[in-house]
Symmetry: C2
C-alpha cells in the first residue's frame, strides 16, 4: 500500500505550464453564455476552443474518450454550497484536477424583449441557480423548471417565444440570446461566486502548484476524522475545505472530499498522505494545482 | 461566555416523554402522502394531528407563531446527501431538535391510470427526489419540474389529467391520488432512506436522550476544525455527522453542523462544549434527543 501511494505520487508529472496548443479543446456543460464557458475562457484565454456538452457527466466522458483535452466543472458556490453531484463524478472517473477558476456569478432574471416581470409564470434554470435565487423565487411563486444549464434556459426562452417564460442565467447569456433583464441580481447574496475546477486526463501538475485535492472514506470508528486532521496538523498542512457525501448504496456511510495547501513534492505532504492512507479507506489523490493564497 | 453557555444548557428541561395531548399539532411540508407526513405519524403515532404547510420555512413559521407544537423537517438522505437549505433554517430560527425519525424512501414514478411510460414527457417532484432519481431521469430525458413537495406533484398529475405528466412520490401518494405506478423504485440506490428531525419551540429533551446537535462557525485559522474534534476526542465523545454550509453573504466562509453521541447532563459533554465555544464562533446547541445506537 505504502509503495503504491508513493508510486501514484511519482506518476504526477510536473510541467512549467499546462500544455495549451492551437488545437486544445476545453469541454464544459452548457451552451455559449454559460458561467462554465466564462470560467474556461478566463482560465485558458480567448484562444481556447471550447466544447459545450449536454451535462456534467458528458464533460467527464469527453475527457475519457479523448474528445477534449481539459474539462471545466463547478465544484462550489459561495451561497448555495457544494455542487454535490460533481464530487460523485470525481469519484467515478479517474481524472486529475489541474487548476481552479473562481467566477463572480450574478444570476439575472431575463425575459423576451417585449415581455415584462408581470407576464412571468414559469422560470427555467439549473437547480443550483434556482437554489441561489431561492428567496427571490419564494416571493414570486413562479413554476420552477430544471434545465441542465443556465444558458440553455435563456436559449429556450428565446426559442419558445412565450412571454410567460423567464430564464435565470448570466448577463452574457441575455446579450447572446437577445433577452431583456428584469432583475440583474436574483441571487440571495450579492456576494455570489462559483469555483470551477479544471480537469485533465493525465496526472500532470503545473510548477508552483500549491493546493491538493483528495477523497477518502472513513471507517465507522470514533475519532477517525480526528486522526486524519491530526496528520494535517502534525505536518503543519492547512486544510482549506472539507465536504462529505453519502457512499452510493450504503446507508449513513460517507466519503470525504478535502483540499489542503501543499505540494506533492514536499516530504511533509508525502508523510501526511502515507499516514492518512493508513487510517482511511480508498484514499485518492485528485490533483495538485495552483490557487491564489 | 462560559456562564452563558452553562445557562443555556440549564435551560433544557428534561421530560419523561415528549408532551403529546389530544390536540397536539405536528407540522410538515407538503400534502398528505408526503414522506414527512409518514415520518410524523411513525414518530407520534396515528393520534397526532398533522398540519401540512407549503414549504420548509413555513414549518418553522408554524412553530414560531404557535400554530403547531412540533415540526418535521428532512435533514439528510442516504443517497442524495444533505437537505442543505434546512441547515440554514436551523440557523435562522431558534427551534430545538427533540427527536429524529428515519423513513425508508422509495421514490415511485407514477402516471394517470390510463397513461403509460411511453406517454411521459414531463416529470414533477421535489428537487431532492429528482436528485435521488438522477440516473433513471438522465436515461429518460423528460423535462424535470421542481415542486415544493413530492406528494403535491402526485396531486398535480391527478388534477391536470394530462397523460404526458408523471410524478415522483411515495407509493402512499400514488394510492391517495389514484395514480398508477410505472416504476416502483426510481431512486439510484435501492437502499434509500431519509432522516427527519422533530422540532419544538421550547428547549426540552426527553429522558434518555443520547444525541446532541450543534452548529458553529470556525475562524480562518489552520487547525481550527482539528481543535474542535480534539475536544470530542479528549472527552471520548463520538461525532456521528459533520456537514458544512457557506455563511450567507460571506465568500468561502463556512459554518458547521455536527452531531455527537451524549447527554447535556454529562460533565464530559459540558466540558467539551465549553472548550468548543472557546475555539469557535457562535456555538449553538440545537438539541439533545434520542437516537437508536
Amino acid at each position: 500500500m505504502k509503495q503504491q501511494l508513493l508510486q501514484t505520487i511519482d506518476e504526477f508529472q510536473t510541467v512549467d505550464e499546462l500544455p495549451v496548443r492551437d488545437d486544445t479543446i476545453v469541454s464544459y456543460s452548457g451552451v455559449p453564455g454559460a458561467f462554465a464557458e466564462q470560467a474556461a475562457i478566463t482560465f485558458f484565454g480567448e484562444q481556447a476552443h471550447t466544447l459545450p456538452v449536454a451535462n456534467f457527466r458528458e464533460v467527464m466522458e469527453a475527457l475519457a474518450k479523448g474528445n477534449a483535452d481539459y474539462g471545466v466543472l463547478p465544484i462550489e458556490n459561495s451561497s448555495a454550497g457544494n455542487v454535490e453531484t460533481n464530487y460523485d463524478l470525481l469519484s467515478e472517473y479517474d481524472m486529475t484536477i489541474v487548476g481552479e477558476q473562481v467566477i463572480e456569478v450574478n444570476q439575472a432574471v431575463m425575459v423576451l424583449p417585449d415581455a415584462s416581470l408581470s407576464d412571468i409564470r414559469k422560470v427555467y434554470s439549473h437547480p443550483q441557480a434556482l437554489m441561489q435565487c431561492s428567496r427571490y423565487l419564494e416571493q414570486m411563486g413562479w413554476e420552477q423548471i430544471n434545465m441542465v444549464n443556465t444558458a440553455l434556459s435563456a436559449m429556450k426562452v428565446r426559442d419558445d417565444k412565450d412571454k410567460t417564460q423567464a430564464a435565470i442565467a448570466s448577463q452574457r447569456a441575455a446579450n447572446l440570446f437577445g433577452l431583456k433583464i428584469v432583475n440583474p441580481i436574483g441571487n440571495n447574496n450579492s456576494n455570489n461566486a462559483t469555483r470551477f475546477i479544471i480537469l485533465h486526463k493525465n496526472r500532470i501538475t503545473a510548477m508552483g502548484a500549491n493546493k491538493i485535492g483528495i477523497t477518502l472514506g472513513l471507517p465507522h470508528e470514533s475519532g477517525s476524522l480526528y486522526e486524519i486532521l491530526g496528520s494535517f496538523n502534525r505536518h503543519e498542512l492547512n486544510m482549506t475545505m472539507i465536504a462529505s457525501r453519502p457512499i452510493p448504496g450504503r446507508q449513513w456511510e460517507y466519503y470525504f472530499y478535502m483540499e489542503f495547501i501543499g505540494s506533492l513534492e514536499s516530504e511533509e505532504v508525502k508523510q501526511a498522505l502515507l499516514e492518512i492512507e493508513e487510517s482511511s479507506i480508498n484514499l485518492r489523490i485528485l490533483g495538485n494545482y495552483r490557487t491564489l493564497l
